[in-house]
């Protein structure tokens, strides 16, 4: 009997001890963070990082709303989703005294319109949406969204992106409209374009999935995020990335802390860690996205700094639009997207 109680006591101690070990529940896009950064963080702060992945912003939001607000410590939503989350009171205010590295953030990203004063978010990476393509011998492709939407172009097999704003925005840009329009007539046109493209597409994939499909020669074109595309390019030089001439999206992903996060202080330490100049540089070197950290900009691989796929030229930048949260008008976008996916 004594042996048994001793055994259970030791089990209990172990259980309590493991509960004491610091934890961080990270909710992030797939292939977005260097596993070494995570293990370095774990060693530095004596913490266990548990990572869950998502493939699109709307599913991430759905998971947070559906209970994740008290489960995850860090999420990485894009700019317009941050405004939604703030309005829905899903985020915890950042304790800036825990994030001294915030001064490293480039002025362009400080005090953004979607989060005045950076009360709830800190920028993580930024990038563009475009087309990742496989070169076809002796063919010059018109770098346009027509690859998807112009049936007469017939440039090759393509994959569409399984993300609401990205898809609808590409259709709107093709027509020359703003990606933040709320006019039902224009959205109807976008819907029809998408439905028509759907008949000819190989399917809807996540950003990373589409990139991998092109890599695996399962498709010639895929709508992809800049960093994923650039990583694909280094694996296969026969591929390339471009922002269509009609224009596209520019986005900023941000680190946020859900309102009821179980390990808020550790989360703030994590944000601070990512904003460290060297860590930020290591991050961008890994995922090949653009860094919002002015100190990291000096430390990253300088070839990346000159890569127009990662850091677009002034002419391309002029054609890029930031996605904005459209408030109650999001309902129309939702309906268009549901129709596109369901028809």
């Amino acid at each position: 009997m004594k042996k048994l109680s001793l055994f259970f006591l030791s089990l209990l101690i172990c259980a309590v001890a493991s509960a004491e070990t610091n934890k961080l529940n990270l909710f992030i896009w797939s292939e977005y963070i260097d596993p070494e950064i995570i293990s370095n963080f774990e060693k530095k702060f004596d913490c266990k990082v548990i990572t869950d992945l998502y493939e699109d912003s709307e599913s991430m939001l759905a998971k947070i709303e559906g209970g994740g607000v008290s489960l995850y410590d860090i999420a990485v939503p894009p700019d317009y989703i941050v405004s939604v989350m703030i309005k829905k009171k899903l985020l915890a205010a950042l304790n800036m005294s825990n994030i001294p590295n915030a001064i490293n953030v480039d002025d362009k990203f400080v005090n953004p319109s979607y989060d005045p004063g950076n009360a709830y978010s800190m920028p993580y990476q930024w990038g563009t949406v475009g087309i990742y393509a496989r070169k076809k011998a002796g063919q010059t492709i018109d770098e346009s969204w027509g690859i998807l939407f112009d049936p007469k172009m017939n440039a090759g097999s393509f994959v569409m992106i399984d993300s609401m704003r990205e898809s609808i925005d590409s259709a709107l840009k093709y027509k020359g409209y703003s990606i933040n329009t709320t006019e039902p007539a224009k959205l109807k046109e976008a819907r029809d374009l998408l439905l028509d493209a759907k008949k000819r597409t190989l399917g809807f994939e996540s950003g990373v999935g589409g990139k991998n499909k092109v890599l695996g020669k399962g498709a010639t074109f895929a709508v992809a995020y800049s960093g994923d595309a650039v990583r694909g390019m280094s694996e296969d030089p026969e591929t390339y990335y471009f922002v269509p001439r009609e224009g596209s999206e520019i986005w900023v992903d941000n680190m946020v802390i859900p309102a009821k996060a179980p390990h808020k202080e550790m989360a703030e330490k994590f944000i601070n860690y990512i904003l460290d100049p060297e860590v930020g540089a290591k991050l961008s070197d890994f995922n090949q996205y653009a860094t919002p950290n002015k100190a990291s900009l000096l430390l990253i691989d300088q070839d990346d700094r000159k890569n127009p796929a990662i850091y677009p030229s002034k002419e391309v930048m002029a054609k890029l639009e930031f996605v904005q949260d459209l408030g109650s008008h999001t309902r129309i976008f939702d309906q268009v997207w549901t129709e596109v996916k369901t028809k």
């Binding site: 699109d56 709307e58 599913s59 939001l61 759905a62 709303e65 559906g66 939604v84 309005k87 829905k88 097999s157 399984d162 609401m164 039902p184 109807k188 759907k198 597409t201 190989l202 399917g203 809807f204 994939e205 020669k217 399962g218 408030g327 109650s328 999001t330 309902r331 129309i332 939702d334 309906q335 997207w337 549901t338 129709e339 996916k341 369901t342 028809k343």
Partner: protein
Amino acid sequence: MSAETIKKRRDLILSSLTSGPGIVWVCLFLLVPLISVMAISFLTRGEYGDIEWTFTFDNYKRFFGYGIFGFDPLYPIIIVRSFILAAGTAALCVLAALPLAFFISFLPPRYKGIALTLVIIPFWTNLLIRTYAWQILLAPGSILSNLVHFIGIVPEDVPALPSAGAVYAGMVCDFLPYMVLPLYTSIEKIDWKIAEAAMDLGGNGRRVFRHAVLPQIMPGLVAGIILVFIPALGQYVIPDLLGGAKTVMLGNAIGQQFGASRDWPFGSAIAFFAMGIVMMGLWLYARVARKHGEEALL
């Protein structure tokens, strides 16, 4: 107190001790959630995707076609499409399962067990794995993909995957054992003397089958069809992986609303409709199973 009352009381006590916990659990975690789905289907979706406690029929209106953009039979089309897929799958399964079930039944007894186990093994393998495997089987450049193009089932420039055909392949492959097992049980119980008598009376093969054999395997056939049709109607994984997220069925539509679309009330309306169909199928199945022993399929 009469012996009858004593027995009744004893039964009640023993019931609560044995069946009690199980019943409470199933009611709490199966019945109550299904009822809440029904309840939520009458509520409204908040601006950003939460649930507002306002009673409305809007979700059902939208489901039957009257949404924001005017009349649009989007969901009725999905219902019809799902029904066709489920019915098609059931039909194909019957065609494929009949020969196999008879084959196993006609085997010498020592091989029957192995033959059955061979059918059951894939059945108990993860559906997800078996389904995504079709992506490999039908990938561009694979033997099967080339074969399908060569025969001409699929035109040259259209990939074999994702497609409705791929979805059917995945569905039949998955649901076949559900059909084989009940059919087999029924076939084992056939009284062959009736068929022999029919032959003696001069009937040809087809007539003998239709009038002497078929009626005897009806219970197995019906059970199999229900076991295939109902779950097939609400399939999520197969249309998702093999239809390229292009072919949306009832199951996918429901999943979408509870996921990225964040419209739980609307999703509940679709789910409640699907539930109604399940209940009808269930009632049919219970009737058949009670007559002929439900462990047939286990």
